[in-house]
Amino acid sequence: MSKPEFTYVTYIETTPEKLWQALTDGDFTERYWFAHRAASDWNVGSNYQFTLDGEKRLEGKVLISDPPRKLAYSWNGCSEEVRRERTSRVTFDLEPRGKVVKLTMTHDDLDEAGVTFRGIAEGWPMVLASLKSFLENGQILDIPRPVRAHEAVRA
């Protein structure tokens, strides 16, 4: 495990199978992940991407795919400001605990001074809180989509 890393743990009242689907199915991610749509066959070695309004925002390769227990993929942001940063890695561990699932998300291999590190530290709590609400109540959280400085300038 390399430094720096960002770990977020949450407990969700759902099944590992439903949580796996929510993490990998574009129809689901589009709901709670601020309109980002995932696409992949989720086989080890396959490519995956997340698109926003049809534009590719995030891409990488599937590193571990052990449904419904463990999913890992490499993480390359597609925006101009993060393109030169190193490839980082995201790992989801799904662990059943009675009627809930303990979800541990670890994002590591990050550039310590990079934009990606700052962005994901803000972003994961929003995405995973919205995911929890989506799976437990069928409703996403009405959190304003994060506005980054460069996006505000471009808009």
Binding site: P125, A129, S130, S133, I143, P144, V147, A152
Partner: protein, 108 residues
């Protein structure tokens, strides 16, 4: 701020007032804090206790900051022998509304 520290951020569909009540009212904490009831008058400098469902006080400390419904901080230490050589820890809760989050993003 002294090391080590543990920070956790979550987003809850509620109001700051309801969240404040849930953090400070013993009847509320007993529901979600695995039976533990918090006891304090929540004034700065006042004592703070965590009472288990069997009536034993497991943790105690002092209120350090109290600015309802935005900011709450208290020290606490577990009273069992296992922790007798440790220093009290400090827990700080900060609540922000989405309106403030929007403002913060706009200012960034």
């Amino acid at each position: 701020m002294s090391k080590p520290e543990f920070i956790y951020v979550t987003y809850i569909e509620t109001t700051p007032e309801k969240l404040w009540h849930a953090l400070t009212d013993g009847d509320f904490t007993a529901r979600y804090w695995f039976g533990a009831r918090l006891r304090s008058d929540w004034k700065v400098g006042s004592s703070f206790e965590m009472v288990r469902s069997d009536g034993n006080v497991s943790d105690a400390g002092k209120v350090v900051e109290c600015d309802p419904p935005r900011r709450l901080a208290y020290t606490f230490i577990n009273l069992s022998d296992k922790y007798k050589n440790e220093f009290p820890a400090l827990a700080t809760f900060v609540a922000r509304t989405l309106w403030q989050a929007r403002q913060a993003n706009a200012d960034a």
